[in-house]
């Protein structure tokens, strides 16, 4: 439309210039005749007529220019609108497959490995869609391979720790047998057997811990919680650790808030957590240190805490403290007999009980490991014991 308008305008302009040219020529001829003195009246009229005619032509062409300008403007607007419509149609046709891609990418990122898109639309979006599906296929395949590897790993750890138990039973059993006859052994032999026994027990702990972690990873670490009294568990754990803390001249105290409610827990597992925490407190604290076990009620939970006045934990290690094979300073690790798995397992176990575990420590200011367990519904036992203090 604008093109037609411009074309017509050029044509009109040409016609106008031709007409003006003709008019000047006619006038010139009339003026020549006037100068020669022939036909002066008609010649004068012709000159005047031509001047008027050019005046009319100029009016005509300016009106035409205005019309053409309007026509061109209208054409441009119409063209732009058309282009806009075309463009938005184009965008719409790209947008649907793109939105689908965005949705599918979101699903994939959220772990839905079956997320795919329908390949279609413009060739670019179709290519993108096909590439996305291909990537998702590969991810799905890799994920399933990883799952399978994880299962194999768990199976391996379960089987290995199971198979290792029989020979370990023999080594441990015969070493114990030797110790039953320690009177007939030299002191050097007794020391030797004790080293064997220590290492056997360490292996047993390691096996048990590995097994627990493998079960935990495989989602097969199960507990059977029941309403459980806290005090006897703490008593028991403290009694288990007494010999070791006494050997290190460490003070081990137990303080239980009176009227503590029952907790919803599996007794053996809580004892295991306590022994883990107490073993750490004992092994990472120097000779003569104080270790305190406390229990108190906090709302609908019972908090059990193991506090020591040992060297504390640097901040850089605190955030990884519950990860497996994380241990305190290498300097200390030399003499620490832990497996590096105790805290990781304790965390799994506490969480399995629906509880939480936390650490609070400052270098040089000792450490407190505490965990909370949900209180069991029902009446609290009447006999809470206060400040049961025992040391050395």
């Amino acid at each position: 439309m604008a093109v037609i308008g411009v074309g017509r305008f050029i044509q009109q302009r040409q016609d106008f210039e031709d007409a003006i040219g003709r008019s000047y020529r006619v006038e010139m001829a009339a003026r020549v005749r006037l100068a020669q003195g022939s036909g002066s009246k008609t010649a004068r009229a012709t000159v005047a007529t031509q001047a008027r005619r050019r005046e009319e032509l100029r009016d005509q062409i300016s009106a035409d220019t205005r019309d053409t300008a309007l026509l061109v403007a209208a054409g441009l607007i119409a063209g732009l609108t058309g282009a806009l419509l075309l463009f938005s149609g184009l965008i719409a046709s790209m947008r649907r497959p793109l939105e689908e891609l965005v949705d599918a990418a979101g699903q994939l990122a959220a772990g839905d490995r079956s997320a795919r898109v329908e390949v279609g639309g413009l060739s670019e979006t179709a290519t993108l869609g096909a590439a996305f599906n291909e990537m998702a296929d590969e991810l799905e395949q890799e994920a399933s391979q990883r799952d399978q590897l994880d299962r194999l790993k768990d199976e391996f750890v379960l089987t290995a720790s199971h198979e290792l138990r029989s020979p370990l039973t023999s080594v441990l059993g015969f070493a114990e047998l030797l110790m039953l006859e320690r009177d007939s052994l030299t002191s050097k032999q007794v020391d030797t057997v004790e080293i064997i026994l220590d290492n056997c027990r360490h292996l047993v702990r390691l096996l048990n811990d590995l097994l627990d972690l493998a079960r935990s990873d495989a989602g097969r670490l199960a507990i059977t919680p029941a309403p459980t009294e806290v005090a006897p568990l703490l008593d028991d754990a403290v009694r288990t650790m007494r010999a070791q803390t006494e050997a290190g001249n460490q003070t081990l105290s137990l303080q239980i808030e009176p009227g503590l409610p029952l907790v919803e827990a599996e007794a053996d597992r809580i004892r295991q957590i306590l022994v883990n925490l107490l073993t750490n407190a004992h092994e990472y604290s120097p000779e003569g240190a104080s270790i305190a076990v406390t229990a108190r009620v906090l709302g609908a939970e019972v908090e059990i805490a193991v506090t020591d006045d040992g060297p504390g934990i640097p901040e850089s290690q605190l955030e990884h403290i519950f990860e497996r094979f994380t241990r305190g300073d290498a300097g200390l690790t030399q003499r620490v007999g832990g497996t590096g798995l105790g805290l990781a397992i304790s965390k799994s176990l506490v969480e399995l009980h629906g509880g939480t575990i936390a650490v609070d420590s400052t270098p040089g200011g000792g450490s407190t490991f505490s965990f909370r367990l949900p209180a069991a519904a029902g009446p609290t036992p009447g006999h809470g014991r206060a400040a049961e203090e025992a040391s050395r």
Binding site: S166, L168, L172, E176, L177, V204, N208, L211
Partner: protein, 121 residues
């Protein structure tokens, strides 16, 4: 004298068990698997006061042997030895009368306590 029949597919474990139990004053007989246990009792071997059976053995497991013996009306108390760390009474097949579980590595103080309790007249 109290007779304990121990079954395990490991000769070393059998030797260990025999030594520890004999030291504690028990008479001990051993078998290499569940098959041997059932055959011996069927062929008129002396009826033990206690069975100490490994849960997993080739040919016949301790669990299967015990199931057969119970079916034949032999009510001898039985302890099942398991390499499963957390074997508990809850693991026992419900149709089987098991006196208890012993886990490997064996805590002999505890085992001897259990045996004493189960064989007390």
């Amino acid at each position: 004298m109290t007779l304990v029949l121990v079954a395990d597919d490991s000769e070393t474990i059998l030797l260990l068990m025999r030594t520890r139990l004999e030291l504690a004053g028990y008479e001990v007989e051993t078998a290499a698997d569940g098959q041997e246990v059932t055959e011996r009792l069927r062929n008129g071997g002396p009826l033990p006061d206690l069975l100490l059976l490994d849960a997993m053995m080739p040919r016949k497991s301790g669990i299967d042997a015990l199931r057969e013996l119970r079916a034949e009306g032999i009510e001898t108390p039985a302890l099942i030895v398991s390499a499963h760390q957390d074997a508990t009474d809850a693991d026992a097949p419900s149709d089987l009368e098991v006196s208890g579980f012993v886990t490997k590595p064996i805590d002999f103080d505890r085992l001897l306590e259990s045996i004493a309790e189960l064989t007390r007249d």
